[in-house]
Point group: C2
Chain length 108, copies 2
């Protein structure tokens, strides 16, 4: 399922970068809202360390998840769609074969 | 300046534990308020990771600072007084020699 950078056209790259960035921004906005809600209910030290553990896990998760790398991009997009940060139709300018592969990965 | 556990009377231990706990609660409450104040300025991912770094540092600092250990307790109290989390008169039931040592450490 790996697709090297040379197999992405200029238009596809543009679509991919925009979709990737959009998913990232959506996830970040949701995360910020989540953290704001947690801060609102902070009353003891355990709540604070729970928030710290949560941020540590999210930072690690996001650092790994949003690595823009062509060979693994189909997997990345499939994961983002599965997690609800992206819709398949936002990638519609990609060639059919890539879209089918992504759709198949989403169903796995 | 080290004072072994056997040199603390039962009453002194009680005073020390209460003062220690009170300082800890004050510092935790201030920290929680500080984090709550940061809510308003959370708008992008860098703000979130800055909060994460801040909590990492505070957790490390508090873990080290609030280790209840008799041999080093005079130093701990001196630091807590210097940082404003405790007043010397909250330790007034300690014997004079311990109080003088703490006061001397605060002035260092």
């Amino acid at each position: 399922m790996q697709v090297s950078e040379s197999q992405w056209s200029a238009l596809e790259k543009e679509t991919a970068q925009e979709a990737f960035q959009r998913a990232y921004e959506r996830e970040v906005l949701t995360l910020i809202q989540d953290v704001r809600n947690q801060i609102g209910s902070l009353s003891k030290i355990d709540d604070l360390w729970r928030l710290h553990d949560f941020l540590s896990a999210k930072r690690h998760e996001l650092d790994g998840k949003y690595e823009y790398d062509y060979p693994s991009l189909l997997f990345v997009f499939a994961n983002l769609i599965r997690d609800g940060w992206l819709q398949l139709d936002e990638l519609e300018t990609l060639e059919k074969e890539k879209l089918s592969k992504i759709a198949a990965l989403v169903r796995l």
